[in-house]
Amino acid sequence: MLTISNLQASIGSKEILKGINLEVKAGEVHAIMGPNGSGKSTLASVLAGREDYDVTDGSVIFEGKDLLEMAPEERAAEGIFLAFQYPVEIPGVSTTNFLKTAMNEIRKYRGQESLDAVQFLKLMKEKMKLVNIDQSLLSRSLNEGFSGGEKKRNEIFQMAMLEPKLAILDETDSGLDIDALRIVAEGVNQLRSPERATIVVTHYQRLLDYIVPDYVHVLYKGRIVKSGPKELAFELEEKGYDWIKAEVETV
């Protein structure tokens, strides 16, 4: 589904990603872990098409298409979804109104008919249950005055509505208490299917208790320095990142 080869990206003159290689197949869940400043969020942002970063080398092929050639909205329409670490507050735009616009733009891109108000509402009601989000929250300005947990649930709600092929969760666990974490994780798990893939970017292992990955990758100084099965996450939790850093430095 997704093939990242030698991806290099920088912001200004600062190199952040220094050659990422990653293969994600349909149905898989990959966790990307690593200490602060290792480039995890940059990787998520570059995949979603944030324009602050310059991709200096490498390629990203998504379902046979060159992802890096596409605008953020095209990537979304192709089936990529980024759950933001810091969801943006947008005064005056309700979640409902914005999601309806987004869904119909994506449908237009795919040559599908627009959803009418009734169909949209029905779908919304169904997905709201997934993340236990209240309708009154959705008719308010997008994320404005939402608690940290409400913002993250809103991200997962949007993901449930848009049904992406590849979901990228950027530090979705940050700022969540254990109950909110469980709700968010359940939402993600219900969307798991053989056709879809998920990349979970996280600093801590605790989210992975709920969203169990097939593979764990450790990102350090802009490179994936170690990959392994889900047990690698436990090891990291137990021993921290220092042993990885030491391993890298000796090589």
Partner: protein, 440 residues
């Protein structure tokens, strides 16, 4: 005035016009009203058109206006079909049309019974209600220091006098539609309005300014609003003029105890615009709400000057102006608040927020607070910035194309002010026009 003044031509033409019309007046030139006109003309003669050296006109240069040649009160063969081109909203209420400054009874309709609302053209009021005019006319809008108000006062012949009797709630809105028919020649008009809202009366009035055709137009309008104790008023000024339009307008509001004034000034289009909104809170426990929205593009220039004068204790004023500027547009916001020594327990808030979409667009903001009382709550804030890039990326990452995402954000920004318009068909029409302008 020396002959090499840049504004000499238009000015001397206006002075000459005044003399000519005065000669035709015969006996009427001795009326009290005309004495005011003459005094105002002398003031205009003395003041001349302002230059950018004048503090109040620093960012708004009227030089190109005074160089134009206009036909004042030009005749127009306007028809209902022509008006249809303007696609104005249908309002259930009193609709009065003025074309190039002249009242058009055949296009207008007055539905409110006279027991509720007296609507008279200024031309008629001069004949039928001289006492009322003597009491109110030109008693509020300053023609001593403001050249354009002086000019308007000197030439005050057409416009509307509205009087709402005490304890009357007028449900039907009244809309005054001022159309510049600039299809043939450059045209100019100077409407003069007077609204008197008596004790505990309530009324809604909108003034709309439109242009037909591509020639230049100049509108110099003055509206005086007098609100007695417990009076309530909604006042809207909607401008949708051409790029060749010059508009200088002053709305002067005078409020007595417990009166409640609520206004929105929306400028969708217009080449060169200066709006003055001056409110004198000469009573206690008054409220004044001022909302504004301006959306210049191309080389349009839109200047909003507001002045709130708190003269008595316990009143509240609240102001929110928002602007979106594109291309090479320029905008000005100047908000003055006076709190006089007697005006203890005043609450005065002012906010001006702008989004500048292009590097070539300019916004000048200047809040001015002058507070002479010690027990007051006042605040002001202005922001000018670009569209929020983070918000834009967020919307795009959900599949909304860039242009649509920008429109969505700008509309949300504008909506804050649009939703303050309480006359539904008017608000809906403005929403459609803004959507259309955003989609361009």
């Amino acid at each position: 005035m020396t002959p090499n003044q840049p504004n000499n031509d238009l000015k001397s033409k206006l002075l000459a016009d005044f003399r000519t019309s005065e000669e035709r007046m015969n006996g009427a030139s001795k009326s009290a009203l005309h004495q005011i006109r003459r005094e105002a003309l002398n003031q205009f003669d003395r003041l001349g058109f302002p230059t950018v050296k004048h503090e109040e006109w620093k960012y708004t240069n009227v030089n190109s206006l005074v160089k134009e040649v206009f036909e004042f009160n030009a005749s127009s063969e306007i028809t209902l079909e022509d008006l249809a081109l303007l696609e104005s909203s249908r309002l259930d209420g009193n609709v009065l049309y003025f074309v190039n400054g002249r009242y058009q009874p055949q296009l207008s309709k007055i539905v409110s019974p006279t027991s509720q609302l007296s609507i008279t053209t200024l031309a008629d009021a001069v004949k039928t209600m001289p006492d009322l005019l003597n009491q109110y006319f030109a008693k509020y809008a300053d023609y001593q220091d403001n050249a354009f108000t002086a000019l308007n006062t000197a030439f005050a012949h057409e416009g509307v006098v509205i009087k709402v009797p005490a304890n009357t709630v007028v449900e039907a809105p009244t809309i005054l539609r001022f159309v510049s028919d600039a299809r043939q020649v450059n045209v100019a008009s100077q409407p003069r309005n007077l609204f008197i809202v008596d004790k505990n009366a309530e009324v809604k009035v909108a003034e709309s300014f439109r242009t037909l055709g591509d020639q230049a137009s100049f509108t110099n309008v003055v509206t005086e609003i007098v609100m007695a104790e417990d009076a309530r008023m909604e006042y809207y000024k909607i401008q949708n003029e051409s790029d060749m339009a010059y508009h200088i307008g002053t709305t002067q509001v005078y409020q007595q105890d417990r009166s409640h004034f609520y206004s929105a000034t929306v400028t969708l289009d217009g080449g060169f615009i200066r709006n003055n909104l001056n409110i004198a809170l000469d009573g206690s426990n008054c409220e004044a709400h001022m909302y504004g929205l301006y959306f210049p593009n191309g080389r349009q220039h839109i200047d909003n000057h507001t002045l709130v004068d708190h003269r008595k204790p316990n009143s509240h004023s609240n102001e929110l102006y928002k602007g979106i500027l594109e291309d090479r547009a320029t905008g000005v916001f100047n908000g003055k608040i006076f709190v006089r020594q007697d005006a203890q327990k005043t609450n005065a808030y002012q906010s001006c927020k702008n989004v500048v979409l292009s590097n070539d667009a300019t916004m000048n903001t200047k809040p001015q607070l002058e507070i002479f009382a010690d027990d007051v709550k006042c605040s002001h804030g202005t922001t000018t910035g670009k569209l929020d890039e983070e918000a834009l990326f967020y919307l795009r990452s959900r599949g909304i194309p860039k242009v649509e995402a920008q429109s969505l954000l700008m509309f949300a920004f504008a909506e804050d002010v649009i939703k303050k318009i309480k006359i539904d068909p008017l608000r809906e029409q403005i929403e459609r026009r803004i959507q259309a302008k955003l989609a361009r």
